[in-house]
Subunit: 300 residues, 2 copies
């Protein structure tokens, strides 16, 4: 009933590996050095050494540590199945919200979500606290959380915010010097767009991915931690909604390709005003699409 000793277990196995590379009878480095090897504190190193001594892998007395025998497969300690979760909790949570169209004002049960995503409760609470900064969820007075959710207002505000950030990015991009990394990237994007334009009838599904990279490249000219943080959420939401709104997908994607190309054209011509106009047009289309996909889901 306390914290896990995963850190110890991983360090132990790592030190076994380290010992394997040592010649037999060699003296083992200092606790501090071993700590650097496994990236843990001395406290953990000493626990590992104690176990190694116990199993007769090393002798240990004061600062005299010697390798007695090469470590075997038997010596290894089991490490409790590391978490493939936790890292991409954000991705999986938003995926869940959008995929199942979880309605606004749904009460969120930390207990339930924690089971669902196989993540400790406190981690989920911290995660939700983070999301509340984006206004996606809110704390309830009687405890717990609600999904403030995917309402029309949310979509409008999100679109507006996205426009503000992205129009700024376009303005910045137009001013970039010729040797900036954006230009080769834009060239590649143009090629990809023109390629897909030819194959649009068959491969219109591929656009979703292309759209994501396009916006990512545009925004990459703005080096700003705040912008970057938001971009993650924004792109995820737009990405999924595009994928699921099946109405007129082919026509929509074909049109979007042209809009993207118009922006690329203007940027490559260093025509800031025209790039801005083209970007505004495209963002307006995007907003409309997002809103109509909402209506579609509400009806369906």
């Amino acid at each position: 009933m306390a914290r896990s000793d995963t850190r110890f277990r991983e360090a132990y196995n790592q030190l076994l590996d380290y010992c394997e590379a040592l010649p037999p009878g060699a003296s083992v480095p200092s606790e501090k050095d071993l700590g650097d090897v496994a990236d843990v504190s001395r406290t953990v190193v000493r626990r590992c050494l104690a176990r190694l001594q116990e199993r007769g892998v090393i002798s240990w007395e004061g600062r005299e540590k010697r390798l007695l025998r090469p470590p075997t497969r038997e010596d290894r300690i089991e490490v409790p199945d590391s978490r493939p979760s936790s890292d991409d909790l954000e991705q999986r949570f938003l995926d869940w919200v959008l995929r199942f169209d979880v309605p606004a004002d749904t009460p969120l049960s930390v207990a339930e979500l924690s089971r669902m995503f196989a993540v400790p409760q406190h981690e989920l609470k911290e995660f939700l606290a983070g999301l509340s900064r984006f206004g996606l969820v809110a704390r309830r007075r009687q405890g717990g959380w609600t999904l403030r959710g995917f309402t029309k207002e949310f979509a409008i505000e999100l679109s507006e915010f996205r426009s503000v950030l992205e129009l700024h990015a376009v303005r910045v991009a137009a001013e970039m010097p010729v040797d900036h990394h954006i230009w080769p990237r834009l060239a590649r994007l143009r090629a990809a767009h023109e390629d897909l334009r030819e194959r649009i009838d068959a491969d219109f599904h591929e656009f979703s991915k292309l759209d994501e990279s396009f916006h990512q490249v545009i925004n990459s000219v703005v080096r700003n931690r705040f912008v970057e943080e938001f971009q993650k959420v924004i792109s995820l939401i737009f990405h999924y909604h595009y994928m699921w709104d099946k109405a007129e997908e082919k026509v929509r994607n074909a049109a979007a390709i042209e809009e993207h190309l118009a922006i690329i054209d203007a940027l490559e011509a260093r025509d800031a005003a025209e790039a801005h106009t083209a970007a505004e047009r495209h963002l307006r289309t995007s907003k409309t699409t997002l809103l109509s996909s909402l209506r579609y889901h509400e009806l369906g």
Copy 2:
């Protein structure tokens, strides 16, 4: 070792107050209704009723509840000193960081902070998780948190982000109809600015507050949860830094008043382009001031 029963205690006292308003011998409403009165669940109401019965304030058998005697001061239960904290933790935390110039990459101890701010640990952890969304703090691999802090890069990125949001707000404001609430507010701001301009030699300290309301009014035309969330942090940081950078404060503030008035002039003339230019000029000054105040602190 479990959650506090503050909720019960507060509800209990509240129900006592409620009973006081009842005529003697009256029948007490249903559990559900009492729950609505005190804004708690039936579970808590029943705990309260049990105690009321035990103390002989009411009789309680099934759904027959009657007031036996008016409740006295003696009947009240002590409620463990409610938290004057917690609410404005954000305010107090940023205040601490800025006031003591806590340097970048300082390790933050949850335990220490929790004592310092008289807030339960888990609450602090959630708070820090939220701040990490703004890139103000970051989780360390070996556990705990660091203040990513108030570096030059941070100030630049914050200023840039602020400019993006605020220039957008100015553009929106210029388009607002004559009956919008912004216009009377701007008029009042103009008066306040002109008033302070006359008294600037003596009262230049007052500008800090005026600056905050000015930017708040400008941004109030943008109804957007994302913008609002950020604005809180941004204004706090700029506000404090202005207050502490004592170098040339009077000259600086006098200049800022003129810049503000230029923006107001242009907005009232519905000259969007000029308003934009004036706002850009002012935001550039702000950024310079923020950066120089950083240098000042580093040297001092």
